[in-house]
């Protein structure tokens, strides 16, 4: 076993997704005036994406029993 099973690959994919979400240009799309439920758009995006990423990581890790 070399330790790079499907779990490792999924986690790497999530890392890349996170890098995409928390970077230019995606970040720039939300870097403007406006609010979502009273919270400025940029802040709402970062925290929502962050929470979603953690949720996905939990899903990948907990569903894998090996």
């Amino acid at each position: 076993m070399n330790g790079y099973g499907s779990k490792a690959q999924r986690l790497v994919a999530l890392c890349l997704l996170g890098f995409l979400l928390f970077n230019y240009p995606i970040l720039a799309l939300f870097n403007k005036a406006g609010t979502l439920f009273g919270i400025p758009l940029l802040y709402a995006h970062i925290f929502a994406a962050w929470a979603a990423l953690i949720g996905l990581m939990a899903l990948v890790v907990e569903r894998d029993d090996s």
């Binding site: 986690l11 790497v12 230019y24 609010t35 940029l42 925290f47 953690i54």
Partner: protein, 918 residues
């Protein structure tokens, strides 16, 4: 209730509680019932990442540039997703090699080099000093501020206070004492600090709860929730730009990205993170939960940072309150004494957690990788001959702790005032990031050499020193400011903040870019031009191939040793009790008893002793000690290569062997299946033979019986004789038909049948066949109805064979129709590329079970024992073979009592099919 004595008492009470927790956890660990062997405790202990920087500093940073504090937490979230690959490997390597610290890890990887270990230690200590000073600053500031209650007064400038009256100094000394009590009460062979980890996990809970309490109070107590707070901020002209903060900052996105990368590296290479993540790890599987729990912790502790920052800016619009203190000053301004006290304790938690783990990790490094290798080499001290060195080891660590904290305090006095908390911390982040190339390269790249790592580290650290540390000292006026403004000796290109003219970036991004270029560049270049020694080659292979699971390093040792010598070495560093325990354990693993049975001082044993020793004094020192106690024959590089090659040859061979045996298994399975199929065919043949002979005997019997009657009784009446002869003729015909069909079938099945394929018009065939049988229909009184489509495209088939199929189906239908009331319906249609023929009768129908078997050879509907079979039992089977030969399908649909409908389809001739047929 915020008098000085209450605060001091509460602080010491809290520290006492921590100590009690640690003591309890240590006691439990000694009895073998660890409290920290849980993924949740492990995840909480990782949260030692959140220090006073997070607790006070994040708000300070957020108050000036909005989301700018977040990359510090987003980076680790991204990095931790890679931990299953990277960190698991580091943990596995560290456990197998008994690594005690980050310096030990790097030194071990590059041939157990004491020099490299020393350099890493020095870089770590110098690099971390700003970070420790940050904690001291935060604790002493918060203490001073709370004391002024109910006034809110910022602490006096450092430097204005004499050293002995400076709270920060006392904080440093108290923390040093506390850390010594915590981490260096006794010497553990595996460098585990269970009590410390338990206390750290508890501290993580306290700081999180304290921060959430302030957050909820500010957001929902002072203001009317998130919406209200952000609406008010938006209305404030000074605050409004912070809602879209990435626009205004120069190089906003670049600095964002670099901060993310920087913190990705920091979460792995800060000495305290390495300590809790790797050294204190009880079980690799704990990583699973930590991978999402730790990011969740960071998310939770950051939710209220922005609300508190905006709340503070709105509450203190004059700007006379330092944003780094909003967490504390907001509750104070609202006269929430209890909350303010909780915040103070939370901040204390955050700071003490960091200081304790960091200084313990650093003191281990200083002792094992800096001081001991030097002392052991100084022959004048004759250290190697002293009977017990445990006291010396503990002494070195204790003094190292005091020294590191005092240096931290010194940095605070020198440079602490010029920067905000976060900026101070980032300087340390950039320093530990220098370890990244050596470690990542070390675990994935076998050709990386000791020299590459050494010079890469020195180059990276040099650039860090020049671009970050010097400017920090210059800004605090300890160095001439002209250094920053005009460059050294007036050389513009060498300005520390705009090296080689690279301007327009923030200080951290600028330093990271240059230091990483220098570090990685030198590391790779030197590695490529230098060749590794035997030791390096061996260690590289052990580290990079750790998951291949090939034994330990014992294979690489050759020499002679004696058991008493090895015992003495171990006892000197671990104490006699621990040495006895280690020897007993080794003997137990080999099914022996010690000292009753003797032990052999073979390579395995020497390796075991070295690993035990490495746990206490680090890999490099352990190597020196063991080498002094045994007579070792040095292996040459070629010999090491040979051993490695042998090992990999064995792996290759065993892989091949596995593959061969898998192939063999597959072949066996195939053979078995083929054999089964042959047996089945043999059985079918036997069945066929017995059925055919049975079928032949029936008509033969009756022919013979009637012939004998005629022969024996010449005077049989003419009428009777004619009847008998008719039977004989009929049976002979049946016999002929049967034999013809059996021959036919044999031809078709063996593929030797002759097919005369032509373009055939089915309309014509159906018409001709029906016409041919019209006499039969008339005799049986059967009505025939036809429904033939006007135009049917031709199919390519053998005309005679098709007639045979149709005849078979029609005569079957006739057979089963009740005479006089029979009705047969023949239809012909074109559908989806096929021509379909249906022959429907109104006979008794066929049950579902019979439908399954009527197409098999010699299977007829009805009980063959009682009723005389009405056919040979081959017709339908042959018909199906014929239809399938032309790419069609023959099947039956029927229900008992409702007649049966036999249908077959044939594909319409296409160009390709016509070509194939020709």
């Amino acid at each position: 209730m915020l008098q000085g004595w209450i605060i001091v008492l509460t602080s010491f009470g809290y520290l006492g509680l921590l100590f009690a927790i640690a003591y309890y956890a240590d006691q439990r660990a000694d009895r073998g019932r660890s409290v920290i062997a849980s993924p949740y405790i492990y995840s909480l202990s990782l949260a030692v990442y959140a220090t006073a920087w997070t607790f006070y500093g994040s708000v300070g940073r957020a108050a000036s540039d909005g989301v700018g504090f977040l990359p510090i937490y987003l980076g680790p979230t991204l990095m931790i997703a890679l931990w299953w690959i990277v960190m698991r490997k580091i943990i596995r390597i560290s456990k197998l090699n008994r690594i005690t610290s980050l310096a030990d890890f790097i030194a071990s990887r590059y041939g157990k080099s004491a020099l490299l270990g020393g350099v890493v230690t020095i870089i770590a200590v110098i690099g971390i000093l700003p970070y420790i000073s940050l904690q001291l600053k935060a604790v002493s500031n918060s203490f001073t501020i709370v004391l002024q209650y109910p006034e809110i007064i910022m602490p006096a400038k450092v430097g204005a206070v004499p050293v002995l009256q400076d709270t920060a100094l006392w904080v440093a000394l108290i923390l040093a004492l506390f850390t010594i009590l915590f981490g260096t009460r006794h010497l553990d062979a595996a460098e585990h600090h269970e009590g410390m980890v338990a206390a750290i996990a508890f501290e993580s809970l306290v700081k999180l709860l304290a921060f959430l309490a302030v957050g909820v109070f500010v957001t929902f107590g002072i203001y009317g929730g998130f919406g209200d707070l952000f609406t008010r901020a938006a209305a404030e002209p000074k605050l409004a730009p912070m809602l879209t903060p990435l626009d205004g900052v120069a190089g906003g996105y670049a600095s964002w990205v670099w901060l993310t990368i920087l913190s990705m590296l920091a979460i792995m290479f800060l000495p305290r993170q390495f300590q809790v993540t790797v050294i204190e790890n009880k079980d690799e599987k704990h990583l699973n939960k930590a991978i999402w729990l730790f990011p969740l912790y960071m998310l939770a502790i950051n939710i209220f940072v922005l609300p508190i920052a905006f709340g503070g800016r709105l509450h203190f619009p004059e700007g006379n309150v330092d944003a780094d203190t909003f967490v504390l000053t907001l509750p104070m301004a609202e006269q929430q004494e209890l909350l303010a006290l909780l915040v103070f304790i939370g901040g204390l938690s955050a700071a003490t957690g960091m200081v304790i783990v960091e200084t313990i990790a650093l003191s281990t490094m200083v002792c094992n990788d800096l001081v001991m290798p030097v002392l052991l080499r100084l022959r004048r001290l004759r250290l190697a001959e002293r009977p017990d060195l445990t006291g010396l080891l503990l002494g070195i660590r204790r003094w190292a702790i005091v020294l590191i904290l005092l240096l931290g305090y010194l940095y605070f006095r020198l440079a602490g005032e010029a920067y905000a908390l976060v900026s101070i911390g980032l300087i340390s982040f950039a320093a530990v990031a220098q370890f990244a190339p050596a470690v990542f390269g070390g675990i994935f790249w076998k050709n990386a050499t000791r020299r590459g790592a050494l010079w890469g580290l020195i180059a990276g650290f040099g650039v860090w020193f020049y671009t970050l540390l010097l400017p920090a000292l210059a800004r605090s006026d300890w160095l001439p400011r002209s250094l920053l403004e005009q460059g050294p000796f007036g050389i513009e290109l060498l300005k520390p903040l705009a090296l080689f003219g690279l301007a327009g970036l923030d200080q951290i991004t600028h330093a990271m870019i240059w230091s990483m270029i220098a570090n990685v560049g030198v590391y790779v270049a030197v590695s490529l031009i230098s060749s590794p020694t035997a030791d390096e080659h061996r260690q590289a292979s052990l580290f990079v191939d750790v998951f291949r699971g090939e034994g330990g390093g014992a294979r690489f040792w050759r020499g002679t040793a004696s058991v008493p010598d090895l015992y003495n070495v171990l006892a000197r560093f671990l104490g006699a009790g621990a040495a006895d325990e280690a020897f007993r354990e080794y003997a137990r693993l080999r099914g022996r008893r010690w000292p009753e049975d003797g032990l052999e001082a073979d390579a395995d044993f020497v390796h075991y002793v070295e690993m035990q020793l490495a746990g206490a004094i680090g890999g490099a020192s352990a190597r020196i000690m063991v080498a002094s106690a045994v007579k070792e024959e040095a292996l040459t590089l070629d010999e090491v290569r040979e051993i490695l090659d042998e090992a990999s040859q064995v792996v290759v061979y065993s892989h091949r062997l596995e593959q061969k045996s898998r192939e063999l298994e597959a072949a066996t399975a195939e053979l078995r299946a083929a054999n089964e199929r042959l047996k089945e065919l043999d059985r079918l043949k036997d069945d066929f033979m017995s059925t055919v002979t049975h079928e032949l005997r029936t008509p033969l019997t009756s022919i013979r019986a009637f012939s004998e009657i005629l022969l024996a009784n010449p005077d049989v009446e003419l009428e009777q004789r004619r009847k008998f002869l008719a039977i004989i003729t009929k049976e002979t015909e049946r016999l002929t038909r049967l034999i013809n069909q059996v021959l036919d079938l044999a031809k078709i099945e063996s593929g030797r049948a002759e097919w005369r394929v032509t373009r055939v018009d089915l309309r014509e065939i159906v018409g001709d066949t029906l016409a041919g049988m019209s006499q039969v229909f008339k005799e049986k009184g059967i009505a025939v109805e036809t429904r033939l489509a006007e135009r049917i495209p031709p199919v390519s088939a053998d005309l005679d064979r098709l007639v045979q199929v149709l005849l078979n189906l029609l005569s079957n239908a006739v057979k089963f129709c009740a005479p006089g009331r029979g009705r047969i319906e023949v239809s012909l249609a074109e559908r989806a590329g096929f021509v379909r023929v249906d022959v429907r009768d109104n006979g008794p129908g066929i049950s579902a079970e019979d439908q399954k078997v009527i197409f098999e050879k010699f299977r007829q509907v009805g009980d063959t024992l009682t009723a005389k079979p009405a056919g040979t039992g081959l017709g339908l089977h042959i018909s199906r073979q014929i239809v399938e030969h032309f790419g069609g399908r023959l099947w039956v649909e029927s229900r008992p009592g409702e007649g049966a409908c036999f249908s077959f389809t044939l594909p319409i001739e296409t160009v390709a099919a016509a070509a194939a047929a020709a």
